[in-house]
């Protein structure tokens, strides 16, 4: 636990010492604010559903930039060797880094909560779906982070890590395309369930289904497990 906390604190210090994390958060906030304001003043729709959709699309674009350095930088600078020879488990290393990333995701989403203030001030929004929407958007962020972390673990080049993460996320977004042909009904159902584009339709409305949350949690656990296995693989290669 001590080591996990040490990794968590170290990661946060590194996030805020480099311009990338700050730029990612700032750009995310700025674009979310712009899109929310556009809908509010020009489309005259005061709701968060579109905002949650925009947030997920923006996270799909910016999260690889946030995750690319998590392990790739350690691999490149040689600090990975030191990290793996310290008396702590690989799980602590991966979890510490993941939790620090989740903190940044929370920060990103927390900043957008300012959009809820005018809705509450000028209207009477149903806060239940808004909370649900935030939980759903957070689930997307947590999944993007876990996938990016696992990819970063396998790379020494940060740009390559970001590109591969983008590739996986975009593939997961559109993975239901073959379902339109319905060649194998069982497979089509599975692809629709795996598809992020179909999952997000309910989640941005604050509709949290158990199967969707289990799917997201499974991807997170699997990705973190892959990251731990990749760390162990380094010792036997």
């Amino acid at each position: 636990m001590n080591a996990l906390l040490a990794i968590f604190v170290k990661e946060l210090r590194e996030y805020f010492a480099t311009p990338i994390a700050l730029a990612v958060v700032a750009v995310f906030w700025a674009l979310c604010g712009y899109l929310f304001s556009f809908h509010l003043f020009f489309v005259s729709t005061a709701q968060m559903v579109t905002s949650f959709h925009n947030m997920i699309i923006l996270m799909l674009l910016v999260m690889p930039l946030l995750t690319m350095r998590i392990f790739a930088e350690e691999n490149k600078s040689g600090t990975m060797e030191l990290l793996l020879t310290l008396p702590m488990s690989d799980y602590a290393t991966v979890l510490g880094k993941y939790l620090a990333g989740l903190f940044i995701v929370c920060l990103m989403l927390g900043g957008t909560a300012t959009a809820v203030v005018p809705l509450v001030f000028y209207g009477e929004p149903d806060l239940g779906p808004i909370w649900g929407g935030y939980v759903g958007t957070f689930a997307f962020g947590a999944m993007f982070l876990a996938i990016g972390l696992a990819v970063s673990c396998a790379c020494t080049n940060q740009v390559v890590a970001a590109l591969i993460t983008w590739g996986i996320l975009v593939m997961l977004w559109f993975i239901d395309y073959p379902a339109a042909f319905d060649f194998i009904p069982g497979l089509s159902a599975a692809l629709l369930h795996m598809s992020l584009s179909s999952q997000h339709v309910d989640l941005i409305r604050g509709v949290l289904s158990g199967s969707a949350l289990i799917y997201f949690a499974s991807v997170v656990v699997f990705s973190l497990f892959v990251a731990v296995r990749l760390l162990r693989l380094r010792r036997t290669r």
Partner: protein, 321 residues
């Protein structure tokens, strides 16, 4: 109890074997220089001790605990400075030392005391609040050494710890390493012969993953006294060796085999005080053309390394033939 014991340790990467049945021991208080050409297995040896790699075969124990089974515990016994002293540039020196200390399981007063001791040992107080990115190479190396001694490890592994430093920095680093090495088993891997000579009490030389020489640098000269090398072309080599070994004052006389291209033998004679009978015998043999040359053996680390590598290559060539 030996701090480090390698007993027939092997390590391969895929089909390529990089360490072949490596066996040696390091006692507390020893500073062992790990030498060898590039690709000889030095870094792999250090990584095995540090826990970065696991041995494929053989037994590796640290402080009496076997490598397999209790990795976390073993890592607590080891302080490791990898090659190029990898550090987190965005952290300050104190933040970095606290981070490593926490990862080593230190907390509270113990962590604070250990970090302060490390800062004092490597004279880091003036840069304690400075970001590592802004440090000179010498200070970066000190920070790397500082993290290695956190938690008071019984074993210290230093991979090319003085590489890239200027002469003054090397002298400073050497003094600091000597200070922190007291009571610990230290393995110091380096390409710099003069560093090993100045710092180490013993040298282990690796070649293609084999241990080819394990020689004491401290006591070797005192134990063996003077060593001369005779190039002998005469006959009755066994008789000559028996005569030399029977001479008072001669501690050992050994011969290396001749080859097809060079039929002469190199005879290595160790003595504390040259007996008169040895001098007269040599004069007589040289007059008769049986001794081609006499020279005093160079006992520098460089000479030991070159000699060991050449001998290893010659034996390998003979085995292949």
């Amino acid at each position: 109890m030996a701090a480090i014991v390698f007993d027939g340790v092997c390590k391969s990467f895929g089909s390529r074997r990089v360490l072949h049945h490596l066996s040696f021991r390091v006692e507390p208080g020893e500073i062992v220089g790990l030498l060898g050409p590039n690709g000889s297995g030095k870094t792999t040896t250090l990584r095995l001790i540090s826990g970065y790699y696991q041995p494929d075969a053989g037994r590796l124990t640290i402080q009496g605990v076997a490598r397999e089974g209790s990795r976390g515990q073993l890592k607590r016994y080891v302080g490791y400075l990898p090659e190029r002293a990898p550090l987190y540039d965005s952290l300050t020196v104190t933040q970095y030392l606290h981070f490593v200390g926490r990862c080593k399981g230190l907390r509270g007063g113990e962590l604070k005391a250990s970090v302060e001791a490390s800062i004092a040992a490597f004279e880091l107080a003036s840069v304690a609040k400075t970001a590592i990115a802004r440090l000179s190479k010498g200070f970066r190396q000190r920070v790397g050494l500082g993290q290695a001694i956190l938690g008071d490890p019984a074993v210290l592994l230093l991979d090319e710890a003085t590489n890239g430093l200027d002469p003054m920095q090397i002298i400073e680093a050497r003094d600091m390493i000597r200070q922190v090495a007291k009571g610990r088993a230290v393995i110091f891997s380096s390409h710099l012969m003069q560093e090993v000579e100045a710092l180490c009490t013993r040298a282990i030389i690796l070649r293609h993953g084999h241990l080819i020489t394990d020689v004491s640098l401290d006591a070797d000269a005192n134990e063996q006294g003077t060593v001369i090398l005779l190039r002998w072309k005469g006959e009755s080599l066994p008789t000559l060796l028996a005569t030399l070994n029977a001479m008072p004052g001669v501690s050992q006389a050994t011969a290396e085999g001749s080859t097809a291209s060079d039929p002469s033998h190199v005879i290595r004679v160790c003595y504390r005080e040259a007996p008169a009978s040895l001098n007269s015998m040599l004069e007589h043999a040289m007059a008769q053309g049986q001794v081609l040359s006499v020279e005093q053996e160079d006992r520098s680390v460089e000479a030991i390394l070159v000699d060991a590598v050449r001998r290893s290559d010659r034996l390998a060539a003979e085995e292949t033939a």
